[in-house]
């Protein structure tokens, strides 16, 4: 078997994670740190196996998944056209950009109390929060993409009598794809945070609600299961975006 750089890297990663888990376990078993604060990997595993058999866990997961997907999809569906069009058209940009710039830097979580009052403690308020948090990275990335179009391509297209619409569809839109995927990745992270924080703040169901309850009852192991579920979701979604990226970037030079 040939030893490649990638394989060595994989071994290093596995060793580092194993050592981390081992130290964690020892810290808990030997009571270097109170198990109430840090639980332990074996405890978390036991709790996870138990929780995955509970219908209530799947109910929480389903509600969280619903809140996140609706909010995030809504953000994509609105942010992509708004961002692309405002980057393309000066006047539309003048119309929307004051709001986008201001809201982009506003911490959206600060208006969470009002969102809860307006939309209740059910799924609606979380959808709104997820939407708000994931909207801006996507819209900004689309605008940025449009502002960095390769002018030499546009000039060449013009000599072939291209119309504005043709330049838009054949140059501008394809150019945005890598930027957009980056914005979508950032927006996804923000959306997940929004979902959890919203559920922790005021809710009656969802993974965030569930892990808050466990935390307050000092069931640290179960709380960590909730945290890990969110982490794994984030990793899985990042992986999906990476796959899409790969699909769209076969034309790019291989940077390795």
């Amino acid at each position: 078997m040939k030893i490649t750089k990638e394989k060595i890297g994989l071994v290093i990663s596995i060793v580092s994670v194993s050592v981390f888990l081992l130290v964690w376990e020892m810290a808990s078993v030997n009571r270097w740190v109170s198990p109430i604060l840090i639980s332990s990997p074996s405890e978390i595993l036991r709790e996870a196996i138990w929780m995955l058999q509970q219908p209530s866990f799947w109910n929480h997961a389903k509600i969280s998944a619903f809140e996140f997907s609706v909010g995030f999809l809504l953000a994509m569906v609105i942010a992509i056209p708004v961002g692309v069009f405002s980057g393309w058209n000066f006047y539309f940009n003048s119309l929307v950009n004051p709001f986008i710039s201001a809201l982009y830097v506003t911490p959206k979580l600060t208006i969470l109390p009002v969102i809860i009052i307006a939309f209740g403690i059910g799924v609606e308020s979380k959808i709104v929060l997820v939407f708000l948090m994931s909207f801006f990275p996507i819209v900004m990335s689309a605008q940025k993409a449009m502002n960095t179009l390769d002018q030499s391509l546009i000039k060449a297209a013009r000599t072939f009598t291209a119309s504005e619409l043709q330049i838009f569809t054949t140059i501008a839109l394809p150019s945005t794809v890598p930027f957009l995927l980056n914005g979508i990745r950032l927006g996804m992270g923000q959306g997940l945070i929004a979902m959890v924080v919203g559920e922790m703040f005021a809710a009656s169901a969802g993974i965030g609600f569930m892990l808050t309850n466990y935390g307050q009852n000092l069931q640290t192991g179960r709380m960590f299961v909730g945290v890990i579920v969110i982490t794994l979701t984030g990793l899985a979604l990042t992986y999906v975006i990476a796959l899409v990226e790969k699909r769209f970037s076969s034309w790019k030079p291989d940077l390795h």
Binding site: A157, T161, Q166, W251, P253
Partner: protein, 272 residues
């Protein structure tokens, strides 16, 4: 191919009193980029334009391409007034300006697509031009997989595939290394012989201009204007070796002295 009527001089492109003036709004001054350009280019001719930087040669090409509007005067192509870009001209710029997410064939058919002329027949034509520029077998490669010289071949094929009446080339080889450039010059002449397109080629390299052209227009700077038209009576097909021929070198000397005079004048201007 249209038959050339014997005796008649078929004028492909003509300019009359062409003036381009830029206005600088901040300093409220005017820069005359081109002054009184009157020239005629014959059907099937290969014309090069050389001159010092700032002589307006690229401005001239962009104006013929329709990207810049004349301040005064007019340009006629096939006896039709040029007003904006048209399907009768295509341009090969210095940068290959290929769409990086499209394969070679999709780039070559891009012009046809924009002009809404992409059919089975014109697509076949595109394949023929790809073969003509020597890229057969690379149809499905992406631009980043090609060398700079190959990218410019794609650029050239894209320009030829729309079958323009006039081919405009703006320093297409200046970004290539010296050897590739020489080789591409020879290739361009081979392609030009096959495609039979009237061509205007902008360059700052005197030997490149003489090697390629039937006639060399020497431009001067400030204001940009024609200072001389040099006939190149070297028979075709031309081998790259003619660049060391005494007759060739005499032409280089002649054009070089013209440009030197222009450059020195510019130097004095800037010291004033």
């Amino acid at each position: 191919m249209a038959d050339v009527v014997a005796g008649a001089e078929n004028i492909k492109l003509s300019t009359r009193n062409l003036n381009i003036v830029y206005r600088n709004a901040r300093t409220n001054t005017e820069v005359v980029a081109l002054k009184d350009i009157n020239l005629e280019i014959k059907d099937g001719e290969f014309v090069c334009i050389v001159g010092p930087s700032g002589c307006g040669k690229t401005t001239f090409l962009n104006t013929v391409a329709g990207l810049i509007k004349p301040s005064e005067g007019e340009i006629r192509l096939d006896d039709r007034l040029i007003d904006g870009p048209g399907a009768d001209r295509s341009v090969v710029f210095q940068s290959p300006s290929l769409l990086p997410w499209r394969t070679v064939i999709a780039n070559v058919t891009y012009g046809l697509e924009l002009q809404r002329r992409l059919t089975r027949q014109t697509r076949d034509q595109a394949y023929q031009y790809i073969e003509m520029v020597g890229l057969k077998g690379f149809e499905n490669n992406y631009p980043h997989e090609l060398s700079g010289g190959m990218q410019q071949r794609v650029n050239l094929a894209r320009a030829l595939t729309v079958e323009p009446s006039l081919l405009l080339l703006d320093e297409p080889f200046s970004a290539l290394d010296a050897q590739t450039r020489e080789f591409m010059q020879a290739e361009l002449l081979r392609i030009w012989r096959t495609a039979k397109k009237t061509s205007i080629f902008i360059t700052h390299q005197i030997d490149e201009a003489i090697y390629l052209a039937d006639r060399v227009f020497v431009f001067g700077a400030r204001p940009g204007r024609v200072v001389d038209v040099v006939d190149v009576d070297i028979p075709r097909p031309r081998d790259l070796k003619i660049k060391r021929d005494p007759a060739f070198l005499r032409l280089v000397d002649h054009i070089w002295s013209l440009i030197e005079k222009e450059s020195t004048k510019q130097g004095f201007d800037s010291r004033d």
